[in-house]
Protein backbone atom coordinates (compact mmCIF):
# COMPACT_ATOMS: atom_id res chain seq x y z
CA UNK A 1 0.00 0.00 0.00
CA UNK A 2 2.96 2.29 0.62
CA UNK A 3 3.53 4.89 -2.07
CA UNK A 4 4.91 8.48 -2.23
CA UNK A 5 5.89 10.75 0.69
CA UNK A 6 8.18 8.16 2.31
CA UNK A 7 5.46 5.55 2.27
CA UNK A 8 3.03 7.68 4.28
CA UNK A 9 -0.53 6.49 3.74
CA UNK A 10 -3.04 8.91 5.29
CA UNK A 11 -5.78 7.48 7.41
CA UNK A 12 -9.05 9.36 7.01
CA UNK A 13 -12.19 8.77 9.03
CA UNK A 14 -15.37 9.79 7.22
CA UNK A 15 -18.75 10.22 8.90
CA UNK A 16 -21.20 9.81 6.05
CA UNK A 17 -24.89 10.62 6.04
CA UNK A 18 -27.02 7.55 5.36
CA UNK A 19 -29.28 9.30 2.87
CA UNK A 20 -26.73 11.10 0.73
CA UNK A 21 -23.01 10.66 1.04
CA UNK A 22 -23.09 7.02 2.18
CA UNK A 23 -25.38 6.23 -0.76
CA UNK A 24 -23.03 8.12 -3.03
CA UNK A 25 -20.22 5.90 -1.71
CA UNK A 26 -22.30 2.83 -2.65
CA UNK A 27 -22.91 4.28 -6.08
CA UNK A 28 -19.21 4.98 -6.54
CA UNK A 29 -18.60 1.33 -5.71
CA UNK A 30 -21.28 -0.15 -7.98
CA UNK A 31 -20.19 2.06 -10.87
CA UNK A 32 -16.58 1.04 -10.23
CA UNK A 33 -15.33 4.57 -9.78
CA UNK A 34 -11.69 4.52 -8.77
CA UNK A 35 -10.62 6.18 -5.52
CA UNK A 36 -7.95 5.54 -2.89
CA UNK A 37 -8.70 3.15 -0.04
CA UNK A 38 -7.65 5.64 2.66
CA UNK A 39 -11.13 6.64 3.79
CA UNK A 40 -12.62 4.59 6.60
CA UNK A 41 -16.34 5.28 6.39
CA UNK A 42 -18.69 5.42 9.36
CA UNK A 43 -22.32 5.55 8.32
CA UNK A 44 -24.44 7.90 10.44
CA UNK A 45 -28.12 8.69 10.01
CA UNK A 46 -27.46 12.41 9.51
CA UNK A 47 -24.45 14.72 9.43
CA UNK A 48 -26.30 16.60 12.17
CA UNK A 49 -25.72 13.68 14.56
CA UNK A 50 -21.95 14.01 14.41
CA UNK A 51 -20.76 15.58 17.65
CA UNK A 52 -17.33 17.19 17.29
CA UNK A 53 -16.10 14.80 19.99
CA UNK A 54 -15.99 11.98 17.39
CA UNK A 55 -13.89 14.06 15.04
CA UNK A 56 -11.50 15.17 17.79
CA UNK A 57 -11.23 11.62 19.13
CA UNK A 58 -10.39 10.39 15.62
CA UNK A 59 -7.71 13.04 15.17
CA UNK A 60 -6.24 12.22 18.58
CA UNK A 61 -6.20 8.48 18.04
CA UNK A 62 -4.63 7.86 14.69
CA UNK A 63 -6.56 9.71 11.99
CA UNK A 64 -4.66 12.11 9.75
CA UNK A 65 -7.85 13.79 8.57
CA UNK A 66 -11.57 13.59 9.27
CA UNK A 67 -14.48 14.18 6.98
CA UNK A 68 -18.18 14.73 7.45
CA UNK A 69 -20.35 14.05 4.41
CA UNK A 70 -23.94 15.21 4.29
CA UNK A 71 -26.76 16.15 1.96
CA UNK A 72 -26.51 19.46 0.14
CA UNK A 73 -27.69 22.37 2.31
CA UNK A 74 -31.45 22.59 1.83
CA UNK A 75 -31.78 18.87 1.02
CA UNK A 76 -31.46 17.32 4.49
CA UNK A 77 -33.55 14.19 4.93
CA UNK A 78 -34.36 15.52 8.41
CA UNK A 79 -34.96 19.09 7.17
CA UNK A 80 -32.18 20.94 8.97
CA UNK A 81 -29.59 18.47 10.30
CA UNK A 82 -26.90 19.49 7.84
CA UNK A 83 -27.37 23.19 8.61
CA UNK A 84 -26.57 22.37 12.24
CA UNK A 85 -23.66 20.20 11.15
CA UNK A 86 -22.38 23.14 9.12
CA UNK A 87 -22.36 25.37 12.21
CA UNK A 88 -20.58 22.70 14.21
CA UNK A 89 -17.94 22.17 11.55
CA UNK A 90 -17.37 25.92 11.35
CA UNK A 91 -17.03 26.06 15.14
CA UNK A 92 -14.63 23.13 15.29
CA UNK A 93 -12.43 24.55 12.53
CA UNK A 94 -12.52 27.96 14.17
CA UNK A 95 -11.38 26.47 17.50
CA UNK A 96 -8.57 24.54 15.81
CA UNK A 97 -7.43 27.73 14.07
CA UNK A 98 -7.49 29.69 17.34
CA UNK A 99 -5.32 27.05 18.99
CA UNK A 100 -2.89 26.82 16.09
CA UNK A 101 -3.91 23.24 15.28
CA UNK A 102 -4.38 21.90 11.74
CA UNK A 103 -7.91 23.03 10.89
CA UNK A 104 -7.31 21.86 7.30
CA UNK A 105 -7.43 18.25 8.47
CA UNK A 106 -11.15 18.75 9.11
CA UNK A 107 -13.22 18.34 5.94
CA UNK A 108 -16.85 18.78 5.04
CA UNK A 109 -18.43 17.67 1.77
CA UNK A 110 -22.04 17.88 0.67
CA UNK A 111 -22.56 14.95 -1.71
CA UNK A 112 -25.99 13.71 -2.79
CA UNK A 113 -26.95 10.05 -3.35
CA UNK A 114 -26.61 10.44 -7.12
CA UNK A 115 -23.12 11.93 -7.00
CA UNK A 116 -20.96 8.79 -7.01
CA UNK A 117 -18.20 10.37 -9.12
CA UNK A 118 -18.17 13.42 -6.82
CA UNK A 119 -17.71 11.11 -3.83
CA UNK A 120 -14.77 9.41 -5.51
CA UNK A 121 -13.30 12.82 -6.39
CA UNK A 122 -13.71 14.04 -2.79
CA UNK A 123 -11.89 11.01 -1.40
CA UNK A 124 -9.10 11.50 -3.95
CA UNK A 125 -8.80 15.18 -3.05
CA UNK A 126 -8.77 14.65 0.71
CA UNK A 127 -6.29 11.78 0.45
CA UNK A 128 -3.91 13.77 -1.75
CA UNK A 129 -4.11 16.92 0.38
CA UNK A 130 -3.51 14.92 3.55
CA UNK A 131 -0.62 13.09 1.93
CA UNK A 132 0.94 16.51 1.25
CA UNK A 133 0.40 17.62 4.84
CA UNK A 134 2.05 14.52 6.20
CA UNK A 135 1.17 12.62 9.37
CA UNK A 136 -1.05 14.34 11.94
CA UNK A 137 1.16 15.29 14.90
CA UNK A 138 -1.77 14.93 17.32
CA UNK A 139 -2.29 11.30 16.39
CA UNK A 140 1.09 10.02 17.48
CA UNK A 141 1.76 12.01 20.68
CA UNK A 142 1.43 9.61 23.61
CA UNK A 143 1.20 12.42 26.17
CA UNK A 144 -1.97 14.19 25.02
Amino acid sequence: MAEGNNGFEPKIIGFLCNWCTASAADLAGTTRAQYPPNLHPVRVMCSGTVDPVYLIKSLLSGADAVMVGGCHPGDCHYVSGNYKARRRMAMLQNIFESLGLDANRIWTRWISASEGPEFAAAVREITEETRKQGPNPLSTDWAL
Binding site: R87, N94, G100
Partner: protein, 376 residues
Protein backbone atom coordinates in the same frame (compact mmCIF):
# COMPACT_ATOMS: atom_id res chain seq x y z
CA UNK B 1 -32.46 56.38 27.86
CA UNK B 2 -33.79 54.40 30.76
CA UNK B 3 -35.17 55.84 33.96
CA UNK B 4 -32.81 56.36 36.83
CA UNK B 5 -32.60 57.59 40.40
CA UNK B 6 -29.66 58.29 42.65
CA UNK B 7 -28.71 56.61 45.88
CA UNK B 8 -27.01 58.98 48.29
CA UNK B 9 -23.79 57.56 49.74
CA UNK B 10 -24.37 58.28 53.42
CA UNK B 11 -21.29 59.50 55.33
CA UNK B 12 -19.16 58.42 52.38
CA UNK B 13 -19.89 54.74 53.09
CA UNK B 14 -20.78 52.84 49.94
CA UNK B 15 -21.31 49.41 51.44
CA UNK B 16 -23.71 50.44 54.19
CA UNK B 17 -25.66 52.71 51.80
CA UNK B 18 -26.27 49.80 49.43
CA UNK B 19 -27.10 47.51 52.33
CA UNK B 20 -29.69 49.99 53.61
CA UNK B 21 -31.23 50.05 50.14
CA UNK B 22 -31.42 46.25 50.03
CA UNK B 23 -32.89 46.16 53.54
CA UNK B 24 -35.53 48.64 52.35
CA UNK B 25 -36.48 46.25 49.57
CA UNK B 26 -37.35 43.67 52.21
CA UNK B 27 -38.83 45.89 54.91
CA UNK B 28 -40.97 47.82 52.43
CA UNK B 29 -42.06 44.44 51.05
CA UNK B 30 -41.04 45.29 47.53
CA UNK B 31 -39.57 41.79 47.40
CA UNK B 32 -39.74 38.86 49.81
CA UNK B 33 -36.17 37.62 49.49
CA UNK B 34 -32.79 38.88 48.36
CA UNK B 35 -29.90 36.84 47.01
CA UNK B 36 -26.77 38.76 47.85
CA UNK B 37 -23.16 38.13 48.94
CA UNK B 38 -22.90 38.18 52.76
CA UNK B 39 -19.61 38.45 54.60
CA UNK B 40 -18.87 35.04 56.13
CA UNK B 41 -18.56 35.36 59.92
CA UNK B 42 -15.04 33.93 59.74
CA UNK B 43 -13.97 36.95 57.71
CA UNK B 44 -12.23 34.86 55.07
CA UNK B 45 -14.93 34.78 52.40
CA UNK B 46 -18.03 36.54 51.13
CA UNK B 47 -20.70 34.13 49.97
CA UNK B 48 -23.90 34.45 47.98
CA UNK B 49 -26.77 33.99 50.45
CA UNK B 50 -30.53 33.96 50.25
CA UNK B 51 -31.85 36.47 52.78
CA UNK B 52 -35.42 36.98 54.00
CA UNK B 53 -34.74 38.84 57.28
CA UNK B 54 -33.47 42.38 56.59
CA UNK B 55 -31.27 42.32 59.73
CA UNK B 56 -28.85 40.01 57.95
CA UNK B 57 -28.31 42.55 55.20
CA UNK B 58 -25.94 44.45 57.46
CA UNK B 59 -23.50 41.71 56.51
CA UNK B 60 -24.04 42.17 52.77
CA UNK B 61 -20.98 43.23 50.80
CA UNK B 62 -21.70 43.43 47.08
CA UNK B 63 -18.34 44.95 46.11
CA UNK B 64 -16.21 42.61 48.23
CA UNK B 65 -13.51 41.44 45.83
CA UNK B 66 -14.23 37.73 45.88
CA UNK B 67 -16.54 35.50 43.83
CA UNK B 68 -16.42 31.96 45.20
CA UNK B 69 -19.14 30.60 42.90
CA UNK B 70 -20.64 32.13 39.77
CA UNK B 71 -24.14 32.96 40.99
CA UNK B 72 -25.64 31.92 37.65
CA UNK B 73 -25.10 28.42 39.00
CA UNK B 74 -26.91 29.29 42.21
CA UNK B 75 -30.01 30.55 40.38
CA UNK B 76 -29.86 27.41 38.26
CA UNK B 77 -29.92 25.24 41.37
CA UNK B 78 -32.82 27.29 42.74
CA UNK B 79 -35.05 27.56 39.69
CA UNK B 80 -34.30 24.63 37.40
CA UNK B 81 -37.26 22.58 38.63
CA UNK B 82 -39.71 25.38 39.41
CA UNK B 83 -39.54 29.16 39.13
CA UNK B 84 -39.24 31.29 42.27
CA UNK B 85 -42.65 31.44 43.98
CA UNK B 86 -41.79 34.67 45.81
CA UNK B 87 -40.52 37.97 44.51
CA UNK B 88 -36.77 37.69 44.87
CA UNK B 89 -34.16 40.32 44.14
CA UNK B 90 -30.80 38.89 43.09
CA UNK B 91 -27.69 41.05 43.27
CA UNK B 92 -25.13 39.77 40.81
CA UNK B 93 -21.96 40.65 38.95
CA UNK B 94 -22.13 41.16 35.19
CA UNK B 95 -20.55 37.76 34.42
CA UNK B 96 -22.99 36.06 36.79
CA UNK B 97 -25.93 37.74 35.05
CA UNK B 98 -24.57 36.74 31.66
CA UNK B 99 -24.21 33.13 32.83
CA UNK B 100 -27.78 33.25 34.06
CA UNK B 101 -29.06 34.49 30.69
CA UNK B 102 -27.26 31.63 28.96
CA UNK B 103 -28.67 29.14 31.45
CA UNK B 104 -32.20 30.45 30.86
CA UNK B 105 -31.72 29.92 27.14
CA UNK B 106 -30.41 26.43 27.87
CA UNK B 107 -33.59 25.87 29.91
CA UNK B 108 -31.65 25.41 33.12
CA UNK B 109 -33.05 28.40 35.01
CA UNK B 110 -36.21 30.51 35.08
CA UNK B 111 -36.49 34.23 35.59
CA UNK B 112 -40.11 34.48 36.75
CA UNK B 113 -40.40 36.50 39.98
CA UNK B 114 -36.69 37.35 39.92
CA UNK B 115 -35.57 40.98 39.95
CA UNK B 116 -32.11 41.16 38.45
CA UNK B 117 -29.94 43.78 40.13
CA UNK B 118 -26.54 44.13 38.50
CA UNK B 119 -23.49 45.98 39.74
CA UNK B 120 -20.72 47.67 37.82
CA UNK B 121 -18.05 45.17 38.75
CA UNK B 122 -14.51 46.20 39.70
CA UNK B 123 -13.41 42.54 39.70
CA UNK B 124 -12.49 40.03 42.36
CA UNK B 125 -9.58 38.12 43.87
CA UNK B 126 -9.20 34.37 44.17
CA UNK B 127 -10.88 32.93 47.25
CA UNK B 128 -7.43 32.09 48.61
CA UNK B 129 -6.17 35.67 48.10
CA UNK B 130 -9.22 37.40 49.55
CA UNK B 131 -8.43 37.09 53.29
CA UNK B 132 -5.11 38.91 52.77
CA UNK B 133 -6.96 41.83 51.24
CA UNK B 134 -9.83 41.76 53.73
CA UNK B 135 -7.41 41.92 56.66
CA UNK B 136 -6.22 45.37 55.55
CA UNK B 137 -8.86 46.98 53.40
CA UNK B 138 -12.60 47.24 52.85
CA UNK B 139 -14.75 46.81 49.78
CA UNK B 140 -15.25 50.61 49.74
CA UNK B 141 -11.48 51.05 49.34
CA UNK B 142 -11.54 48.45 46.59
CA UNK B 143 -14.29 49.94 44.42
CA UNK B 144 -12.88 53.46 44.76
CA UNK B 145 -9.40 52.35 43.73
CA UNK B 146 -10.74 50.22 40.86
CA UNK B 147 -12.55 53.00 39.01
CA UNK B 148 -9.59 55.30 39.46
CA UNK B 149 -8.02 53.23 36.72
CA UNK B 150 -5.43 51.36 38.74
CA UNK B 151 -4.37 48.02 37.27
CA UNK B 152 -4.41 45.34 39.90
CA UNK B 153 -2.20 42.30 39.16
CA UNK B 154 -3.73 40.34 42.03
CA UNK B 155 -7.17 40.20 40.33
CA UNK B 156 -8.41 36.81 39.14
CA UNK B 157 -7.31 35.96 35.59
CA UNK B 158 -10.87 36.36 34.31
CA UNK B 159 -11.28 39.78 35.88
CA UNK B 160 -8.00 41.10 34.47
CA UNK B 161 -9.28 40.77 30.91
CA UNK B 162 -13.01 41.04 31.59
CA UNK B 163 -14.82 42.21 28.47
CA UNK B 164 -17.97 43.47 30.17
CA UNK B 165 -17.46 44.82 33.71
CA UNK B 166 -20.89 46.45 33.36
CA UNK B 167 -24.13 44.46 33.21
CA UNK B 168 -25.57 43.69 29.77
CA UNK B 169 -29.00 42.57 30.94
CA UNK B 170 -30.57 43.61 34.24
CA UNK B 171 -33.75 45.06 35.63
CA UNK B 172 -31.84 47.50 37.81
CA UNK B 173 -28.17 48.47 37.71
CA UNK B 174 -26.34 49.85 40.71
CA UNK B 175 -24.03 52.13 38.74
CA UNK B 176 -20.70 53.15 40.18
CA UNK B 177 -18.77 53.92 36.98
CA UNK B 178 -18.48 57.65 36.34
CA UNK B 179 -20.09 58.57 39.68
CA UNK B 180 -18.72 60.66 42.51
CA UNK B 181 -18.58 57.79 44.95
CA UNK B 182 -18.23 60.05 47.97
CA UNK B 183 -21.69 61.33 47.21
CA UNK B 184 -23.83 59.00 45.17
CA UNK B 185 -24.47 55.85 43.20
CA UNK B 186 -26.75 55.60 40.19
CA UNK B 187 -29.81 53.33 40.17
CA UNK B 188 -30.57 52.67 36.55
CA UNK B 189 -33.85 50.89 35.71
CA UNK B 190 -33.74 49.21 32.31
CA UNK B 191 -37.03 47.31 32.51
CA UNK B 192 -40.49 47.69 34.01
CA UNK B 193 -39.41 45.39 36.82
CA UNK B 194 -36.55 47.77 37.55
CA UNK B 195 -38.92 50.73 37.63
CA UNK B 196 -41.16 48.73 39.95
CA UNK B 197 -38.24 48.38 42.37
CA UNK B 198 -37.52 52.12 42.30
CA UNK B 199 -41.19 52.90 42.83
CA UNK B 200 -41.47 50.44 45.69
CA UNK B 201 -38.49 52.07 47.35
CA UNK B 202 -40.20 55.44 47.04
CA UNK B 203 -37.46 56.84 44.81
CA UNK B 204 -38.34 59.31 42.08
CA UNK B 205 -37.01 58.12 38.79
CA UNK B 206 -36.17 60.60 36.07
CA UNK B 207 -35.45 60.14 32.38
CA UNK B 208 -32.09 61.18 30.94
CA UNK B 209 -30.54 62.28 34.22
CA UNK B 210 -27.13 63.88 34.26
CA UNK B 211 -25.73 61.07 36.43
CA UNK B 212 -26.92 58.49 33.88
CA UNK B 213 -25.29 60.44 31.06
CA UNK B 214 -22.04 60.61 33.03
CA UNK B 215 -22.09 56.86 33.56
CA UNK B 216 -22.81 56.30 29.89
CA UNK B 217 -19.76 58.28 28.83
CA UNK B 218 -17.52 56.69 31.45
CA UNK B 219 -18.70 53.19 30.47
CA UNK B 220 -17.87 53.86 26.80
CA UNK B 221 -14.38 54.98 27.76
CA UNK B 222 -13.93 51.94 29.99
CA UNK B 223 -15.04 49.50 27.29
CA UNK B 224 -12.71 51.10 24.72
CA UNK B 225 -9.76 50.78 27.08
CA UNK B 226 -10.68 47.12 27.64
CA UNK B 227 -10.74 46.46 23.89
CA UNK B 228 -7.08 47.47 23.66
CA UNK B 229 -6.13 45.35 26.66
CA UNK B 230 -7.87 42.36 25.14
CA UNK B 231 -6.18 42.73 21.75
CA UNK B 232 -2.81 42.50 23.47
CA UNK B 233 -4.02 39.64 25.63
CA UNK B 234 -5.15 37.60 22.62
CA UNK B 235 -1.90 38.21 20.80
CA UNK B 236 0.08 37.08 23.83
CA UNK B 237 -2.14 34.04 24.34
CA UNK B 238 -1.72 32.92 20.73
CA UNK B 239 2.06 33.10 21.25
CA UNK B 240 1.85 31.16 24.49
CA UNK B 241 -0.43 28.31 23.52
CA UNK B 242 -0.52 28.15 19.69
CA UNK B 243 0.29 24.80 18.10
CA UNK B 244 0.21 21.17 19.16
CA UNK B 245 3.52 21.30 21.07
CA UNK B 246 2.66 24.33 23.17
CA UNK B 247 -0.83 23.05 23.79
CA UNK B 248 0.63 19.77 25.03
CA UNK B 249 2.85 21.75 27.41
CA UNK B 250 -0.08 23.82 28.68
CA UNK B 251 -2.15 20.72 29.44
CA UNK B 252 0.83 18.78 30.82
CA UNK B 253 -0.23 19.41 34.44
CA UNK B 254 -3.86 18.33 33.83
CA UNK B 255 -5.03 15.53 36.14
CA UNK B 256 -8.43 15.31 34.42
CA UNK B 257 -10.22 16.00 37.69
CA UNK B 258 -12.81 17.92 35.64
CA UNK B 259 -13.09 20.63 38.30
CA UNK B 260 -13.14 23.15 35.44
CA UNK B 261 -16.25 21.52 34.04
CA UNK B 262 -17.98 21.39 37.41
CA UNK B 263 -17.20 25.05 38.18
CA UNK B 264 -18.16 26.33 34.71
CA UNK B 265 -21.54 28.00 34.98
CA UNK B 266 -22.53 27.33 31.38
CA UNK B 267 -21.29 23.72 31.08
CA UNK B 268 -24.72 22.56 32.09
CA UNK B 269 -25.29 18.93 31.01
CA UNK B 270 -26.84 16.90 33.82
CA UNK B 271 -24.99 13.86 32.58
CA UNK B 272 -21.62 14.73 31.14
CA UNK B 273 -20.39 12.58 28.28
CA UNK B 274 -17.01 12.41 30.03
CA UNK B 275 -18.44 10.73 33.12
CA UNK B 276 -20.58 8.38 31.04
CA UNK B 277 -19.97 4.66 30.49
CA UNK B 278 -18.43 5.57 27.11
CA UNK B 279 -15.20 6.00 29.02
CA UNK B 280 -15.55 2.86 31.15
CA UNK B 281 -13.53 0.42 29.13
CA UNK B 282 -12.28 -3.12 29.52
CA UNK B 283 -8.58 -3.53 30.27
CA UNK B 284 -7.95 -4.95 26.79
CA UNK B 285 -9.13 -1.69 25.21
CA UNK B 286 -6.58 0.33 27.21
CA UNK B 287 -3.82 -2.16 26.51
CA UNK B 288 -4.70 -2.31 22.84
CA UNK B 289 -4.66 1.47 22.48
CA UNK B 290 -1.33 1.65 24.30
CA UNK B 291 0.14 -0.98 22.00
CA UNK B 292 -0.66 1.13 18.94
CA UNK B 293 1.63 3.98 19.94
CA UNK B 294 3.92 2.30 22.44
CA UNK B 295 2.84 4.47 25.34
CA UNK B 296 -0.38 6.17 26.36
CA UNK B 297 -0.98 8.79 29.01
CA UNK B 298 -3.29 7.74 31.85
CA UNK B 299 -5.91 8.83 32.72
CA UNK B 300 -6.65 8.93 29.00
CA UNK B 301 -8.22 11.63 26.86
CA UNK B 302 -7.12 14.77 28.71
CA UNK B 303 -6.84 16.88 25.56
CA UNK B 304 -9.98 15.29 24.12
CA UNK B 305 -11.82 16.41 27.23
CA UNK B 306 -10.71 20.03 26.98
CA UNK B 307 -11.19 20.34 23.21
CA UNK B 308 -14.61 18.76 23.35
CA UNK B 309 -15.70 20.98 26.21
CA UNK B 310 -14.60 23.92 24.09
CA UNK B 311 -16.70 22.85 21.12
CA UNK B 312 -19.67 22.34 23.42
CA UNK B 313 -19.65 25.65 25.25
CA UNK B 314 -17.30 28.10 23.51
CA UNK B 315 -20.26 29.98 22.07
CA UNK B 316 -21.65 30.60 25.56
CA UNK B 317 -18.33 31.19 27.36
CA UNK B 318 -18.77 34.40 29.33
CA UNK B 319 -15.13 34.54 30.41
CA UNK B 320 -15.83 34.51 34.16
CA UNK B 321 -12.71 32.42 34.78
CA UNK B 322 -14.38 29.99 37.19
CA UNK B 323 -12.61 27.17 35.30
CA UNK B 324 -9.16 28.56 36.00
CA UNK B 325 -10.03 29.28 39.63
CA UNK B 326 -11.11 25.66 40.06
CA UNK B 327 -7.99 24.16 38.48
CA UNK B 328 -5.72 22.65 41.14
CA UNK B 329 -2.68 22.95 38.86
CA UNK B 330 -3.05 26.51 37.57
CA UNK B 331 -3.64 25.61 33.92
CA UNK B 332 -4.43 28.93 32.17
CA UNK B 333 -7.89 27.74 31.14
CA UNK B 334 -9.43 31.20 31.11
CA UNK B 335 -6.91 32.34 28.51
CA UNK B 336 -7.55 29.34 26.29
CA UNK B 337 -11.32 29.48 26.59
CA UNK B 338 -11.44 33.24 26.07
CA UNK B 339 -9.35 32.96 22.94
CA UNK B 340 -11.43 30.18 21.40
CA UNK B 341 -14.73 31.41 22.84
CA UNK B 342 -14.37 34.95 21.59
CA UNK B 343 -13.47 33.79 18.10
CA UNK B 344 -16.43 31.40 17.92
CA UNK B 345 -18.71 34.15 19.20
CA UNK B 346 -17.41 36.52 16.52
CA UNK B 347 -18.13 33.88 13.89
CA UNK B 348 -21.81 33.97 14.81
CA UNK B 349 -21.95 37.61 15.87
CA UNK B 350 -23.10 36.38 19.26
CA UNK B 351 -22.52 37.94 22.66
CA UNK B 352 -23.38 35.46 25.39
CA UNK B 353 -25.60 36.91 28.07
CA UNK B 354 -26.57 39.95 26.04
CA UNK B 355 -30.23 39.11 25.59
CA UNK B 356 -32.74 36.31 25.79
CA UNK B 357 -33.71 36.82 22.15
CA UNK B 358 -30.29 36.02 20.56
CA UNK B 359 -30.43 32.32 19.69
CA UNK B 360 -27.71 30.00 21.01
CA UNK B 361 -25.42 29.45 17.99
CA UNK B 362 -25.22 25.64 18.21
CA UNK B 363 -29.00 25.28 18.24
CA UNK B 364 -29.80 27.68 15.43
CA UNK B 365 -28.84 28.16 11.78
CA UNK B 366 -29.36 30.39 8.79
CA UNK B 367 -29.81 29.03 5.30
CA UNK B 368 -27.40 31.50 3.78
CA UNK B 369 -24.30 31.43 5.93
CA UNK B 370 -20.92 29.70 6.18
CA UNK B 371 -20.96 28.87 2.47
CA UNK B 372 -17.24 28.16 2.61
CA UNK B 373 -17.94 25.02 4.67
CA UNK B 374 -18.17 22.08 2.29
CA UNK B 375 -16.92 24.08 -0.67
CA UNK B 376 -14.63 22.30 -3.09
Amino acid sequence: MAKSATLAVKDGKIRSSINALLADLLSKQVVEAVLVPLAHPAGNNVVQSLVTNPDYLEQADVFAPVMPVNAGRIIQAMTRLTPANKKTAVVMRPCELRALVELVKLRQAQLDNLYLIGIDCPGAYSVSDYPKYAAEKTSDDFVKAAWNGKDDPMLRAGCQVCEYPVPLMTDLTIGSVGQDLKKQLLLLASTEKGEELLEGLGLTAEEDSQAAAQRHTAVDQLLNKIKETREKFFEQTREEIGGADKLATVFGPCIKCQNCRVACPVCYCRECFFVSPTFELEAEKYLGAAEKRGAMRMPTDTLLFHLTRMTHMAASCIGCGACEEACPNAIPLLKIFQLTGTNVQKLFDYIPGRSLEDELPPTAFKEDELEWIGEK
